[in-house]
Symmetry: C2
Subunit: 641 residues, 2 copies
């Protein structure tokens, strides 16, 4: 008779009698003879409990895993106080990190890339501000202060900062539902700045409280759909003012700037060139053409302060906060994703939470200096990736400073030049920019690899298109969460078979060579067992049993005596799960079927033990591997014969 | 040189040269010598793709797993048409299933238990109706029609049907927020019946569309908290009218009726006895005591029809639907849980979805015959379990018919007797009933086994107590979902070590005897890889690598060369997950570290293959077990030396 034991039962163990017995595990030779010579005599190992921890210790570990998974302060460990202070300074102001080693050659590439970005940012800034129903000048202001702040605080060195189309669109839509800019321009501006302030506050708080993982719930699949939907809306909106020039803009997009770096210059210079050309044309023919609407007068000079315009009480506060949080989370998704991509390309790590604090502070500062929501730029990324990064070569955040300087020069001296810029060209720029957001190749990849991801993508696309931007966002998050819940609610359970001559047990529907072990039904459960699936799993396992019994009856095989549950992939269990296994065992008991658990992982083992449920299993209810379970139980049966 | 292959690469396999080689797996002996004699020469097995399926087939399988996991129609397979019709009749009207074998002895126990339930149901019906701010007679009506319908349609044979405290409380609270019964009694009644109708419609639709699993999201842990919170609210409400009799009711509860079946009769008979005694006392002393409020006049006769009172348009329709869905889902949770418990005690299975249709139809019929929301009774269960089931012994649904008959007799002849029943005794009955819902022992068990479950319980308790009943319910669901998401967002990853002399690899922090393999870092990921955790896992794995490198440097061990990811517990992957592994591989590549995947399960393998990502891994990037990966890669290294 052989005794399986666990936890506090260790003292009942019978000491081992094998030479190869190692360390101090109580293991026992089975009196089993297996015909194949290749298999060594089987040892049985006991299932261990994880080392004891107090609730406080567990809580501490759990919380640090939730909030500090990247161990952001590891650099500070075992350092002198002075070094710690230097590191702290570098941590909060990354400029000190690369500032000391900054060289002239770096400056040169930063200078070129800064100017390139500026030539994109100026026309885009004006256009995106119009998308948010804001005066064009706000777009330029937003391309000046935020990049400067980001260059000091931000840890990504390759991020071009400025307004982005999606956040502009969402802000415009949400505010415009309640207030019209043309009717109440001052209130609208106030709300836009207030929304920017709350966006910044929200972003900074997410970072500060290390809740950055929340933005992970906007999965890439849903974002692909969301972006495409928003792009379609924006394009349709702008098409109204665009008339006949559509062909021009769609041709622009066809230039495959990503693949042929040299063509990039055409693509990058196009917005500015078309602004200059069209402005010139309108200026020259202004006496002949009267019906072209142009930007008109823009004020000269740097950002005026706007802290006094923030709106902290009154009937529209809720609207401002809602708009702020929505645009804040959207621009974060974009900014962080871009930062991560660059970091991975250049092989350095970006601390997402710190980055959020930087973006948040940048927006809070922006809201006090007449800027609206800004972030790392998605469109700039697609260019930067192909060209600014590898050809012009942005090396550090100084490129943002250069760009801000260029914008400043524009603000101080060049504003009158925009007087004749036709609105139609801004619409064209917007469409060109947003059409790039329709990533049909990504959608096709989603379809090929993961149908549910594709469905999530479609849902958010149509949500944005046919319901509303906010609802589209809500649908996107909803679908993502639903996908997780669906997987949790209906997990896989598979029948395992033995690969002859080995101790390996694999899914028989996938591995044709795996064969069923007579008298055993070996099931692997591929999911945590939770309240959300405990009923399902209980019923599903009983169905497996029923089907196996029918199969056995049909094939006249030896009757089933034992159900082995391989719990390797059951990574967690809760009280409902424990209860489900308990009831399953009772039900199987009534049918004279033995239930055996195999290899519960640490925390599952702990909970099974804590619930005193394991005690009801007796000595032969828990094994470390399927092979050991099958061998030991069959040998017991032989002994009983 | 050894070639690892998969899927379409199978044709590249070199044929095997071992005698024990089995079936047609391409397996290869390694030129590895391991010192321990016990380990047999290692064979390498290839990782297989699951059998090819079209998208339609996959969709079909997936949908049937979501909606028909219990294969409810399996009884109908391979039967004659006549037999199928009989089975169908039995399926929809379970009364035909047990009706034919009904005997006199069964009737006797059903009769006794039916009367027992009635003696509880009459005073409780009156009391619960008051809880819902409805006239007491509605409570009696609700104990007549619904049990009759359930006895025909329901598949649980041991369920006592009637109004329940929680649903009554919730309906009362929700309707009373907008409309007062005392001011607009007809409108209030209309809304109550309409809410009942929608509760039934919602329940029946859940069952019909096989969405019953939705109620699983109200986990038992949160329900324990919710019930306790609701019980406290009800008790405090009723205490106002109760004055000095509190001691009496709390003493009632102390009687340990569960453990001592004989005492059960005292407990079961108490409500009716106290109603009779108190009514008698008030009747006898009515001339002397003037200030006791009593029920007053109740109409005699059967349920009047109320179909015309249903309210399908107008300003309060939304309120009625909301109340209906809330009470519907709450009473389902109760009814299904009770049904399942009985089924498991008596070893028969209850089809949750069909049961929901029965309860839903019962409520829809009820709403047309002056009844409000009813379900399988929780309080009756606690009695039934101890006594009605085992002593009086309800055997079939006939007990519900007997009970309905007893209620009918009361309705027809005994109504005037309630004239003097003091309201205070109804308050006492309610308190006695609801205090039983405070299951502090269950809460203590939750604390001991699963701290997060306990937290969910606390949250819903305080949510009900301090915010509102609906918010408490929302909090309860929210906390449950949050718990799942938290586990998904922050999954475990553990370092594995080898148990010397075996091919077993286990968590080194849990199994002290497991030792690290030099030059390898073996990580097991204990979760699906999703958009919600792909960034986290990527960063976490890089942190493991960094920490391992620091450890190696500190201990001057041989440098790390290979990271092995054990994917056994990675039960699913999505596009973000694939991208994360892809980026991880690139990052590790730049540090000259090899990444190897081990044992991806069927659908993960399929997606990895579909994304063409595996091709970048080359021949030595995928193994079936950690042991094979370690052995094969070390042998390759030796060959390269």
């Amino acid at each position: 008779m052989f005794l399986q034991h666990f936890g506090g039962f260790a003292e009942m163990g019978i000491s081992s009698n094998r030479v190869e017995d190692f360390l101090d595990i109580a293991c026992h030779e089975t009196n089993l003879k297996i015909s194949t010579e290749a298999i060594p005599p089987l040892e049985i190992h006991r299932v261990c409990l994880p080392p004891k921890q107090t609730t406080i210790q567990k809580l501490k570990q759990r919380l640090s895993e939730i909030f500090f998974p990247d161990d952001p302060l590891y650099r500070f460990k075992n350092q002198t106080l002075f070094r710690k202070m230097v590191l702290g300074l570098e941590y909060f102001f990354p400029i000190f990190q690369w500032g000391s080693s900054y060289s002239f050659s770096l400056l040169r590439s930063d200078f070129i890339s800064g100017l390139t970005i500026a030539s994109l940012a100026i026309p885009q800034g004006i256009s995106y501000a119009k998308l948010a129903n804001l005066p064009p000048i706000i777009g330029l202001y937003s391309s000046f202060v935020p990049p400067l702040i980001y260059s000091v605080l931000g840890s990504s060195r390759h991020l071009g900062v400025g307004p982005v189309s999606i956040a502009s669109l969402v802000m415009g839509t949400m505010l415009d539902e309640t207030i019209s800019y043309t009717e109440e321009p001052v209130l609208y501006l106030k709300l836009a700045f207030t929304a920017t302030f709350f966006a910044g506050l929200f972003q900074a708080s997410l970072g500060l409280f290390r809740l950055g993982f929340i933005i992970d719930f906007l999965s890439k699949a849903t974002l692909v759909g969301f972006m495409a939907g928003a792009a379609v809306i924006v394009s349709l909106q702008q098409l109204k003012g665009l008339l006949g020039i559509v062909h021009f803009t769609s041709k622009m997009q066809i230039i495959p700037s990503m693949r042929k770096p040299k063509l990039f210059w055409i693509s990058a210079a196009a917005p500015l060139t078309s602004v200059i050309l069209s402005t010139l044309l309108v200026f020259l023919f202004k006496s002949k053409v009267h019906e072209i609407s142009a930007i008109g007068h823009l004020p000269k000079g740097m950002n005026p302060p706007s802290a006094k315009m923030l709106y902290f009480h009154g009937p529209y506060l809720v609207l401002a906060i809602k708009t702020g949080i929505t645009t804040g989370i959207l621009s974060l998704t974009e900014g962080i994703a871009v930062g991560r991509t660059f970091a991975s390309l250049k092989n350095y790590q970006v601390d997402g939470n710190k980055e959020m604090m930087a973006i948040g502070l940048m927006n809070m500062a922006g809201s006090c200096s007449s800027c609206y929501v800004t972030t790392g730029n998605h469109l700039l990324r697609s260019f930067s990736r192909s060209a600014v990064n590898y050809n012009a070569g942005a090396q550090t955040a100084v490129s943002n400073i250069v760009m801000a300087a260029a914008v400043l020069v524009t603000l101080l001296f060049l504003m009158p030049l925009f007087y004749y810029t036709p609105n139609v060209i801004l619409a064209a720029i917007i469409i060109t920019a947003v059409i790039g957001l329709i990533d049909y190749q990504a959608a096709f990849r989603l379809w090929k690899v993961d149908k549910l991801d594709f469905l999530a993508c479609l849902c958010s696309f149509f949500g944005v298109l046919f319901i509303s931007v906010q609802m589209g966002l809500a649908v996107a998050v909803g679908v993502s969460v639903f996908k997780i819940l669906l997987h949790v609610t209906r997990p896989n359970s598979v029948v395992l078979g033995n690969i002859p001559g080995t101790q390996i047990y694999l899914n028989i529907s996938c591995y044709g060579e795996a064969i069923r072990v007579p008298s055993f039904l070996i099931l692997a459960i591929e999911s945590p067992i939770y309240f959300a699936n405990s009923n399902y799993l209980q019923e599903r396992i009983l169905r497996w049993v029923r089907e196996e019994e029918e199969r056995i009856q049909a094939n006249k095989e030896s009757i089933m005596q034992c159900i082995v549950l391989d719990m390797t992939a059951v990574t967690a269990i809760d009280t409902s799960g424990i209860e489900a296994i308990h009831e399953l065992r009772k039900t199987l008991d009534k049918r004279s079927l033995q239930l055996v658990l195999v290899n519960p992982v640490g925390n599952v083992m702990e909970k099974l033990h804590g619930s005193k449920f394991l005690e009801s299993f007796g000595p032969n209810g828990l094994y470390l591997s399927v092979g050991e379970a099958v061998a030991d139980i069959s040998s017991l049966w032989k002994a009983q014969l």
